[in-house]
Symmetry: C2
Subunit: 432 residues, 2 copies
């Protein structure tokens, strides 16, 4: 069989991982692909000492790889959204198939990129953009194709999950774990992407588009980070039988689609509640299959390379006929699904209210909540810690619209006995 | 786009599920497939009241469906391995693509069937044959294609997992739970397939072939059922921090490939140890991606239909060019991988030895084990229960060949202080 020539652009962590895994397992990969898969051209500003580039054409200008007429597949691993976008569009224009691991690029510019690719009849594959080595895009777009997907929930940022896991298991403080994660190289030096939820929002955007057949709409994802998580809330959640996870949630409701990233209490008996450390997992609900879950490493050079190479082989196996798996799972987009604003979203809540230790305060708060139609599921009232006259009151509510909850919290915060901000964390049962 | 016409043979539980899910979700499925997917012909000995067959050609002789020149894809859902085999071979001969959910057929006759299909250039797809709605064949054959797979372990029989879960969670006896599972319709009236491990062995055969690129070799799977599991062992395992699961395990070693199905102690902190009830899960170890796990319903009409329809859509998306994903993942089989006999397999063990309550017995047993090169990891010695003079002695060993363990157990059982059979259950850490 005719070989497939691959050009790799970018030889950083993931580029080197892809290069080395392909080299190490090339015999099996060729047998699986049904034809030889060859890296013939690498574009990188500098060599990477981890990669033996002997016998391979190397260009300092990555656009030289796109111009190489012998290269069939351009693998974009340079990151960012400026040069990478230019590169991917140039590759499409040159009629080449593209593989990328770039979640920001796909989440923010995917609609434009896919339109260009469809016009040219080429494939842009991006399995590695979501949840690293877990074949979640393939699962949703192909494996669950029979299903109306009602929702999904994912632990899709390893650094955030590592921090929350350490806080719970070892009682450590947020800042302490974050500093360690940075030292270990899990978190970026600027941790905003991980901790503020931007990275998870990029991935959620891509998952939701594939699950529901809607365009990529990164700007409509409601995003909250984990920087305000305290040891106190982690422990109270535990007492109530819940874990706090930073989840990306997409859900189809009668009123529209929800897309949100935020810390979430989930029952500790759910399998996904037990996904700890840097591991990722995505739980998907289909009307025929029920719940399915996909678990694995969401980052790392070789885990990401695993997904990049899977895309390369998918293309290689089908090189003679254009790929017929639509870029976002559906050949015709459902453009009429409205995306809900955060105020329109209904969830249950965990509330922690610090109240002056006076008679009747509990009743007054319960009364305030019920004025806004909010019912309680569980209550813990603790004694005041030694150093403060404030009693922590922990409430779990039934599902309520965020709008009602906002109003209720404003009302509670204006009570004379409540002098501190109310802490609220969303709660999902994840049973459907 | 030209529609794809589907003929369904068999209208039992899975046949009806497939029919109904296709009908319910047809708009989305067509949009995902990029062309209309139509059931045009059903072959079934009798109608199923759950299916509205109006407007569809119905034949009492399923071979009429194969003869229908307008049908592109034959879906075999009649079960068994005689007529189903004949049907599938006839469909291949007629140049039709085939989808089947039949694990026994694929595990026992897959090599012959795939050879015929490859000669004819047609596809035989069987995602539904393993772990119901979980897209595990796709994950291994496509999603993890970059990896050298070192092993996998799966909970691949829902009935067995339900029984073991109930025994642990509610302290119920094996026979009691089995009777209930039969009443609930989880287990077959003749539960041999589930309880003796045959069903799991069929699925393991298929998983191992795809993971390692070896032919299907059902007759080489070492298979032990769960009928001898006692409440005692479930509880002792729990005390030691382990769960007992009925696992299908395939592993690639330097000496050959292991394929085995048996009750297994696994550390309770592993995610797969927490897969309870009728749910299935498959844990796969790849050299690039590390561990990944796939979880969902392993049986049931609609969960199985989900996988059947995924196969149909895969074929529909690629109908104009023959499928290039090899039937067992590799275009050339690795025929030189030896399959190990059970005596050659090395694992750790849980042993329960009932010993007469006399001085020096513990030392004598430890001495016997060490004569066979067996080291201990943990010991529990209990007081004798009221109604017997025998003390239960629980040991966890380090990994040892089964041959050595067989000899050691023979020696222990010949000690005068040991009057009962030694209970042994294999133990796997599942950390790689």
């Amino acid at each position: 069989m005719k070989p497939v020539n691959v050009g790799i652009c970018g030889l950083g962590t993931v580029g080197a991982g892809t290069f080395n895994v392909l080299k190490r397992n090339i015999d099996d990969i060729d047998r699986r692909a049904g034809r030889p898969v060859r890296i013939t051209h690498v574009g990188a500003r500098r060599d990477n000492p981890d990669c033996d580039l002997e016998g391979i054409q190397v260009s300092r200008d990555i656009f030289e790889v796109v111009k190489d007429p012998d290269v069939h597949i351009i693998v974009e691993l340079i990151g960012g959204t400026t040069v990478s976008k230019e590169l991917v569009l140039a590759a499409i224009k040159a009629g080449k198939d593209v593989v990328t691991a770039n979640k920001a690029l796909i989440a923010e510019f995917g609609n434009e990129i896919f339109a260009a690719a469809e016009q040219k009849g080429v494939v842009v594959a991006y399995e590695a953009a979501v949840a690293g080595g877990i074949p979640i895009i393939k699962a949703i777009r192909e494996g669950l194709v029979a299903n109306q997907i009602s929702g999904l929930a994912g632990i899709i940022n390893g650094t955030g999950n590592y921090i929350l896991s350490e806080m719970r298991e070892k009682g450590r403080a947020f800042d302490d774990v974050l500093a360690e994660a940075q030292a270990l190289g899990y978190a970026e030096a600027d941790p905003t992407f991980d901790v503020a939820g931007t990275d998870a929002a990029h991935k959620l955007t891509i998952l939701a588009a594939n699950a529901f057949g809607i365009p990529l709409q990164f700007d409509k994802v409601y995003t909250e980070g984990i920087a305000e998580m305290t040891q106190e809330d982690v422990q109270y959640a535990d007492e109530l039988g819940y874990r706090i996870k930073h989840l990306g949630i997409a859900r189809r409701t009668d009123h529209g689609v929800e897309m949100r990233v935020h810390p979430t209490l989930i029952p500790n008996k759910r399998l996904i509640a037990n996904v700890d450390g840097v591991m990722n997992a995505v739980l998907v609900f289909g009307d025929a299959v029920g719940p399915t879950m996909y678990y694995g490493q969401g980052a790392g050079a070789e885990a990401t390379a695993s997904a990049v190479i899977a895309d390369i082989v998918d293309i290689a196996r089908d090189i003679d006929s254009p790929g017929l798996v639509p870029h976002l799972g559906f050949s015709v987009e459902t453009k009429d699904l409205n995306v809900l604003t955060s105020e329109e979203i209904t969830t249950a809540y965990y509330l922690r209210i610090s109240v002056k230790d006076e008679v009747g305060q509990m009743a007054r708060i319960a009364d305030t909540l019920s004025q806004f139609g909010i019912n309680m599921e569980a209550i813990i009232q603790k004694e005041a810690p030694d150093d403060t006259p404030l009693v922590p009151l922990i409430l779990l509510t039934q599902p309520v619209s965020e709008k009602a909850m906002n109003s209720a919290i404003t009302a509670i915060e204006s009570l004379p006995s409540v002098t501190e901000r109310v802490v609220r964390i969303r709660l999902e049962r994840l049973d459907s």
